[in-house]
Amino acid sequence: MKQITVTVNGQPHSAEVEPRLLLVHLIRENLNLTGTHIGCDTSSCGACTVLLDGKSVKSCTVLAVQANGKSVSTVEGLCAPGAALNPLQEGFKENHGLHCGFCTPGMMMRATELLEHNPDPTEDEIRWGISGNLCRCTGYNNIVKAILYAGAKMRGEEPASTEPQFV
């Protein structure tokens, strides 16, 4: 067992963990932050994506001990409980970028880093930028729209209409 301290959404947490404990299980089981999900066993789906010292990582592929002394951001930290949704959360809601909601936390954490590095991405850059995150419900169109919306909002611009467009 190893003693670790991880700062999660700004709060330091200490825990005694087995070295083999995956970060995703530390987050979900020890800290009860169950927004971060598990969708596969081969690092393919990205449902467990969190930010580790600002970088998006698949937390199923990081050991909890590797996060010792580092800072983790999860979906629960995107907005304070009861506070207004942050621009990404708002973008996902306004553009219907989620159905079952299972990929959503990982998708938004990935998009958080994407927009930090590329505040005005093209649609193609967004598609490649979230290609480590699988979604089975939405067909991705509205996720792309949601991220474009959040980008515009963060840049202080008026986002495009969120009304569904039909041919």
Partner: protein, 789 residues
């Protein structure tokens, strides 16, 4: 055409693109999925699985596993046998092992279960269990399964002498043969709709919580049909005391279902048995690999498809012969009288009088399933067959496939239309849909461009699919699951202050029921949808229903919501007449209030009327304001669609790029256009997936070759095209709000549009058919074989 809204945006009834009520919790990580559940003393279960497709179990040695710290128990088939829980019935009246006592029948089958204090300890225990097998040669190829030399797999079934499950047929064989014998044109293709997997991002799992003190089981589980599951649990385990009133199934938030969460999997039953034996809650959450390798597959139909017609393009007859690979047991989730589901819809959107269809189902050493992945009970297979053959026929006679469809569509005046296999299509305007899709994509322009490209040797293809779906099972005279008629239900209770709670017998897995059911009630009662809380999934509180699959929620429970709300409106009218001191006949309704004809200033809002139902109701009337309805649909609904796909293919590599895809759906009246569009986007991506990427592949020994997401290719945002969607509106005449189901239409309709586009691109080289998934390698190989490269 767009939906006309009768209600204000503030009320949010039919036709409003209302934002979802579900999103708040999901966006903040506050959904409640099964693996989020933690109970005091909860134990964890892991499962030892078979490395072989077919083998005798000689010995299971649990000794080392039981020494692993944290491991409390190892459960085997022999343990369950003592309680007669080692086998369970399937939905198709076959039998399925919970845990084997003697023989394993497919790779990854459950062999033993480990119960431990943590999931890591359970996994350690799993690795420590030693199983000795005597490996046998499996039956993998369904075409060889009936060879006299093939081993008979189901030796547990008395008198079973082969691997044949059932034979099914429909249509007029003699007449069809006569038409085929005399037809000018006959086309024939052998096609395989391969085995695929839903791969919902959340896998299956449960927490079984049996209380010895109360003799009561609470079962939290990933199920699309919680009430039916409760009944099944009682049927399987009633003899050990788990009778139906002592079982509460809770289906919490589900991370996608797509049909993969309809069946009862052994893992659920073992978890119940473990909790029952140990008296503590037991959690089981499967891995992705287990999910892909052992849970219900979809499709796996081998179809010999034939179409007969005239030289100028009039379809005269079709003939379909299916070999269905069901795995080792028939556990396909069909209505009990429909072993091939709704495959008999395969005559499609076309007006011709003659067909003959037959199917044989076969046991093989593979996991069970068949009905899943937005198939609407085998409509995916049916539509693929007819839409591929329609293009095949057009190619044969050199006719434009769009024109051929116009020449054969069931005309809109002919509805309700009686199909040669017995369906009564409720309504449709197929010509309008195809016309709209062609205009949106500039079909004529594309054909010109294609001609120019062909002259230069470039590969461009245009594919059409004009499909008819059949969803909303179903009328009680024909449709049941385990004898339970396939109705569904709604229960609406309006509180004194005019806000409501409503519960349903269906179960959303992301389709937005919490939002759209509220919109139906808002439409009928004028209570703002925001003020109507929708719940599903708890069998103690929700009315009995058959669940959500096969796009049945809107046709069944959606109808029930409207009917129950109308009962309440009738009551409101009586109260309004009493309060306004007029006759009921003198009242007119507009969403949200009754007013006196000719004196609109004399009115009562629905909120005032509901308050009166608790505070000042007429003498002799029951107090309160609630209604329930169990809706037995008079027919199914028959949504349709016209899809056009354009592909560009790299001749040297076989790489296929979907340049454009236009999808025009007609699901009748639309409850929430935003949600319908979202369903269509997702369904189209689940259409491109089997068409181009996904299939479960087995080798001759029954090893699954791509049982993880490393090589089972679920499309990412990069592979998924920018879908262009639209609709026509042809309401269902028999449905209370004119709405049809739609959730599965895109997955039913898209694969043949894509396959047709690819074959169209390759047709100059004499290629007439390719089986899905059509991969770059398959295209390259076909071109190579034809000497094109």
């Amino acid at each position: 055409m767009t939906q006309v809204c009768k209600t204000s945006k503030a009320i949010g009834g039919m036709g409003h693109s209302m934002k979802r009520k579900e999103d708040g919790r999901f966006l903040q990580g506050k959904g409640n999925y099964v693996d989020d559940i933690k109970l005091d003393g909860m134990l964890y279960m892991d499962i030892v699985r078979s490395p072989y497709a077919y083998a005798k179990i000689k010995k299971i040695d649990s000794e080392a596993a039981l020494k692993v710290p944290g491991v409390l128990a190892v459960i085997t088939g022999r343990d369950l046998e003592q309680y007669n829980l080692h086998w369970m019935p399937t939905l198709m009246s076959d039998t399925q092992m919970v845990l084997p006592t003697d023989t394993v029948m497919y790779q990854a089958q459950e062999v033993a279960a480990i119960i431990a204090t943590s999931r890591y300890a359970a996994r350690d225990g799993r690795e420590a269990v030693r199983v000795e097998y005597e490996v046998m040669k499996p039956v993998i190829d369904p075409f060889k399964a009936l060879d006299p030399s093939a081993p008979v797999l189901r030796t547990d079934k008395p008198g079973k002498t082969d691997n044949h499950i059932w034979h099914w047929e429909v249509g007029d064989k003699a007449r069809t043969e006569a038409v085929f014998a005399s037809a000018d044109v006959v086309v024939k293709e052998q096609m395989h709709i391969p085995r695929i997997h839903v791969a919902s991002i959340e896998t299956c799992g449960c927490v079984a919580d049996y209380s010895k003190v109360n003799n009561h089981l609470t079962m939290y589980m990933t199920t699309q049909a919680p009430h039916a599951i409760r009944t099944v649990i009682a049927l399987v385990a009633g003899h050990v005391g788990l009778t139906e009133e002592k079982v509460r199934v809770i289906s919490p938030d589900i991370g996608g279902g797509f049909g993969g969460k309809v069946p009862v999997y052994p893992g659920y039953v073992i978890a119940i048995a473990a909790s029952f034996l140990i008296g503590k809650p037991v959690k089981w959450i499967e891995d992705r690999s287990e999910n892909l390798q052992a849970d219900s597959f979809a499709r796996d139909y081998h179809i010999t498809a034939e179409m007969a017609g005239t030289k100028d393009g009039k379809i005269l007859a079709t003939r379909f012969k299916v070999l269905a690979d069901h795995g080792y047991t028939d556990a396909s989730a069909n209505p009990s009288k429909f072993p091939t589901g709704m495959f008999s819809i395969a005559t499609g959107s076309y007006d011709y009088g003659t067909t003959f269809m037959e199917a044989d189902a076969i046991y093989t050493n593979k996991p069970p399933g068949g009905v899943a992945y937005r198939c609407s009970f085998r409509v995916t297979e049916a539509v693929h067959a007819i839409e591929r053959m329609t293009d095949r026929y057009a190619l044969e006679i050199g006719k434009d496939p769009a024109q051929l469809r116009f020449d054969n569509f069931i005309p809109k005046e002919a509805f309700p239309w009686h199909s040669p296999t017995g369906w009564i299509y409720d309504s449709g305007d197929y010509e309008a849909g195809l016309r709209k899709a062609m205009d949106a994509i500039d079909y004529e322009g594309l054909r010109k461009e294609q001609t120019e490209k062909r002259a230069k040797g470039e590969l461009m293809g245009i594919g059409i699919s004009t499909f008819t779906e059949v969803v909303g099972a179903g009328p009680s005279k024909d449709f049941d699951i385990l004898g339970i008629k396939m109705f569904d239900s709604a229960e609406i209770r309006v509180h004194p202050t005019g806000k409501a709670i409503a519960r349903f017998g269906t179960k959303s897995q992301g389709q937005g029921h919490e939002t759209t059911y509220a919109q139906i009630i808002a439409e009928e009662l004028g209570i703002p949808a925001e003020n109507i809380q929708i719940e599903e999934g708890d069998t103690d509180t929700a009315p009995y229903g058959l669940g959500t699959y096969a796009s049945r929620s809107t046709p069944t429970a959606g109808a029930a919501a409207a009917v129950a709300a109308r009962k309440l409106r009738d009551k409101a009218r009586k109260i309004a007449a009493y309060l306004l001191e007029v006759s009921e006949d003198d009242l007119e309704w507009e969403p949200g209030k009754f007013f006196v004809k000719g004196a609109p200033e004399k009115s009562k809002t629905i909120q005032e009327l509901v308050f009166a139902a608790y505070t000042n109701h007429p003498q002799g009337m029951e107090a309160g304001f609630e209604a329930t309805h169990y809706y037995d649909p008079p027919n199914l609904t028959f949504p349709s669609g016209a899809y056009i796909c354009v592909v560009d293919i790299d001749k040297e590599t076989g790489e296929i790029k979907v340049r454009r895809f236009v999808a025009i759906d007609d699901c009748g009246n639309i409850i929430n256009p935003m949600i319908v569009q979202g369903q269509v986007h997702g369904g189209l991506t689940q259409g491109i997936a089997p068409a181009m990427y996904e299939s479960l592949i087995y080798d001759d020994d029954g090893n699954i070759l791509n049982g993880t997401l490393m090589d089972y290719l679920v499309p990412t945002a990069v592979e998924s095209p920018n879908w262009e969607t639209g609709h026509t509106i042809t309401p269902s005449p028999h449905h209370p709000i004119g709405a049809k189901g739609v959730g599965e239409s895109p997955t039913v309709g898209a694969p043949p549009a894509i396959a047709n586009a690819i074959v169209d691109a390759l047709s100059p080289y004499g290629i007439t058919h390719l089986d899905i998934p059509i991969t770059p390698f398959k295209v390259w190989k076909a071109l190579k074989e034809k000497g094109a490269i």
